[in-house]
């Protein structure tokens, strides 16, 4: 599914990811945890194709394609989805119009015809119901005036509509109360299957109580310094990140 080798990324000459390696197979859920500034969001943005980051070295293969050679929109059409940490407010573009444009692009890529208006509406209603969203959100401007929780639910709603191969979730749990967290997790778990993979980036272990990962990686100073299963997440929750820092310092 995704194979990242020796990836090095910088922003404005500041090196952020250094020799980053990760392999994700179909159906797997990987969690990446790490303290602030370790490079978590840089990883998400680089995978999605944000141009403010510079790739200095390494490679990323996604479904057999060179991901780094693709534009952000090509990556999305190929089946990569980024749930934004800070979804952008876009006044004047309704959720429905936006979703229609996006879904049809994805379907076109898959060689499928456009959904007719009725099918599209039914699908939107179904996915909104799953995320306990008011159907009136369809006609509202994208993210404009949405609460933090509504924005995050809207991200998962889009994920459900677009049915990606790989979903990268960038701190989707930040700013969510326990109810919203539960709804978001339910949405994600509904989408889990043998073919779809997830990369869950989070600062806290809490989300992983609901979305149980197959692997947990600790990101520190731009590289993965430790890999384990969900027990590792619990350990981090209990002990914090200081012992990672000390172990890492001893190594280098």
């Amino acid at each position: 599914m995704l194979s990242i080798k020796n990836l090095a990324v910088s922003i404005e000459d500041k090196s952020i990811l250094k020799d980053f390696n990760l392999d994700i197979k179909p159906g797997e859920v990987h969690a990446i945890m790490g303290p602030n500034g370790s490079g978590k969001s840089t990883l998400a943005s680089t995978l999605a194709g944000r141009e403010t980051f510079t790739v200095d070295g390494g490679s990323v293969q996604f479904l057999g394609q060179d991901l780094l050679d693709m534009e952000a929109d090509e990556r999305a059409r190929a089946g990569l989805f980024l749930a934004f940490q800070y979804p952008v407010e876009i006044p004047g573009v309704s959720v429905a119009n936006f979703m229609k444009a996006a879904v049809n692009q994805r379907r076109k890529h898959l060689g499928q015809g456009e959904l007719d208006a009725r099918e599209f509406l039914l699908k939107m209603k179904e996915k909104m119901a799953m995320l306990e969203m008011d159907p009136q959100f369809m006609s509202r401007s994208l993210n404009e005036g949405f609460s933090g929780g509504e924005k995050k639910r809207n991200e998962i709603f889009q994920m459900a509509m677009l049915e990606p191969k790989l979903a990268v979730m960038d701190e989707t749990d930040s700013g969510l109360d326990i109810d919203a967290l539960r709804i978001v997790a339910k949405g994600v778990n509904t989408l889990r299957n043998e073919e779809r993979s997830f990369l869950v980036i989070t600062h806290y272990q809490r989300l992983l109580d609901y979305i149980v990962p197959d692997y947990v990686h600790v990101l520190f100073d731009g590289r993965i310094v430790k890999t384990g299963n969900r027990e590792l997440a619990l350990e981090l929750e209990a002990r914090g990140y200081d012992w990672i820092r000390e172990e890492y310092a001893a190594l280098t």
Binding site: D73, L82, P87
Partner: protein, 465 residues
């Protein structure tokens, strides 16, 4: 020829305008010596005194009319032979009372009045012939455009235009569609459409004014020419309501200088939506003068200056009475090497207490060679007023583009969605659903073209790193 003749006044060009005017005078059967003849003469003299503006005039600083006014422009004639417009294109979907003018002359065969009631909709020329004294009470009564040579020239040279009059309390069921087209116009010709709109007390009028050669959209570009020095006067009497929506769009050499002068009496309401989507040079002078208390005006517009187009909107809102409300909202796009100009004056006279006046002008630049000149101008001489203004010029938010791209929407489509959203506030406020659809589709077509041109320019200008 009195008064300090300037060097311009003696120029061959101005002499030629005088000769054309004298030729026109000889054709004024039965009107010689009448109010209308005197009025034309006075306007011609005023024009000769002023001469055409140049860029040293603050008001015309960003709008180079030199190329247009250096040459002598002869009055356009009614085209010979088959003079029906080549189809009305999308306009035929509008159910409306339709008045068609070709080169500033009325074309009854293409016009159609579908409503009946206490109003008159037809040719101004015919109305003047039928009852000159009545028209004289209104005609050129606003003189707001006194400052512009183009408007004076129109007052001297006009052939015809719309006459729209609603009796007190009258309503017209369907909108009134005025179509100004140019046909077989030559490169040295200009049309002088002249429209007069009177909504008597308590009446209500909804007018759509299309100034375009797009009815001829299938003709080759080099055969399509539109040039007009146009004037429209609008009287909104006590408790009356007028809505005036304008669509201005043309290929290649389209040049339009358009004065709209509005007077609002007590408790009346005026709203306009102006869409200037393509043209080598478009200049709108919209002047609204409050002539009584508790009147309101809401003027909005969208303009798109692509390629090498220049689109200029000058607004002048004159709060001459207390307790009135005005709102301006103009949204503009400039792409390619296009230039957009916005100048909005809110003038609040000393007695005009409790004035509410708002202005907003938002612009987006789509290329690094496009230009926006925006100048809000508040001149406030009363102390108990609420006035605000804001002007912005910027680029599309890269974060928004990225968000859309991250959902699989290609750059061009993402840009189009954002530009559609940018203009939606104004376009969606159009009352007529079918006209809204026309404006939206014309806007989308022009925007798609502008995006295609701009992205080509980006590719060409990107460094070969």
């Amino acid at each position: 020829m009195k008064q300090s003749p300037t060097s311009q006044a003696e120029s061959p060009a101005l002499q030629s305008y005088r000769q054309d005017f004298q030729r026109l005078e000889r054709q004024l059967n039965g009107l010689k010596g009448s109010f209308f003849h005197e009025h034309r003469s006075a306007a011609m003299e005023a024009f000769e005194r002023m001469g055409f503006p140049n860029r040293r005039n603050e008001d015309w600083k960003y709008t180079p009319t030199g190329a247009m006014t250096r040459e002598t422009l002869r009055p356009a004639e009614f085209p010979d032979g088959d003079s029906s417009p080549n189809g009305l294109g999308q306009l035929s979907t509008l159910i409306a009372n339709r008045l068609v003018f070709i080169n500033g002359s009325y074309l009854p065969s293409a016009s159609e009045i579908i409503d009946t009631g206490a109003f008159e909709i037809g040719s101004l020329k015919e109305a003047i012939h039928a009852d000159p004294d009545r028209i004289a009470t209104w005609f050129d009564g606003l003189q707001n455009s006194g400052a512009s040579a183009f408007a004076r020239l129109n007052s001297a040279m006009y052939q015809d235009g719309a006459w729209i009059w609603a009796k007190p309390g009258a309503q017209v069921e369907h909108p009134i569609l005025i179509i100004d087209v140019c046909q077989n116009m030559e490169a040295d010709q200009v049309a002088y459409p002249r429209h007069l709109i009177v909504a008597e007390a308590g009446s209500s009028l909804s007018i759509i004014h299309v100034q375009s050669n797009f009815a001829q959209e299938h003709a080759p570009a080099d055969q399509v020419l539109y040039r007009g020095f146009a004037v429209a006067e609008v009287f909104v009497q006590r408790d009356a309501r007028v809505s005036l929506d304008m669509l201005q769009e043309g290929e290649a050499d389209y040049q339009l200088i358009h004065h709209v002068d509005v007077r609002l009496d007590q408790n009346s309401h005026f709203r306009s939506r102006t869409f200037s989507l393509a043209g080598k040079l478009i200049r709108n002078n919209l002047t609204v003068r409050f002539g009584g208390e508790h009147a309101e005006c809401d003027v909005q517009g969208v303009y798109l200056a692509a390629e090498q187009d220049l689109i200029d909107n000058h607004l002048y809102i004159d709060h001459a009475h207390p307790n009135c409300l005005s709102n301006q909202l103009y949204k503009g796009l400039a792409s390619g090497k296009g230039t957009a100009v916005f100048n909005g004056i809110i003038y609040v006279r000393p007695n005009a207490q409790k004035t509410n006046a708002y202005q907003s002008n938002k612009n987006l630049l789509l290329s690094d060679q496009a230009t926006i000149n925006t100048k809000p101008q508040l001149e406030i001489f009363a102390d108990d007023v609420r006035c605000s203004h804001g002007a912005t010029s910027g680029q599309l938010d890269p974060e928004s583009i990225f968000y859309l791209k991250a959902r699989g929407i290609p750059q061009a489509e993402a840009t189009r969605l954002l530009l559609e959203a940018f203009s939606a506030e104004v376009i969606s406020s159009l009352d007529s659903e079918s006209f809204r659809a026309i404006v939206q589709s014309r806007f989308n077509a022009r925007v798609n073209q502008a995006i295609a041109d701009s992205s080509a320019a980006w590719v060409n200008s990107s460094p070969s790193s």
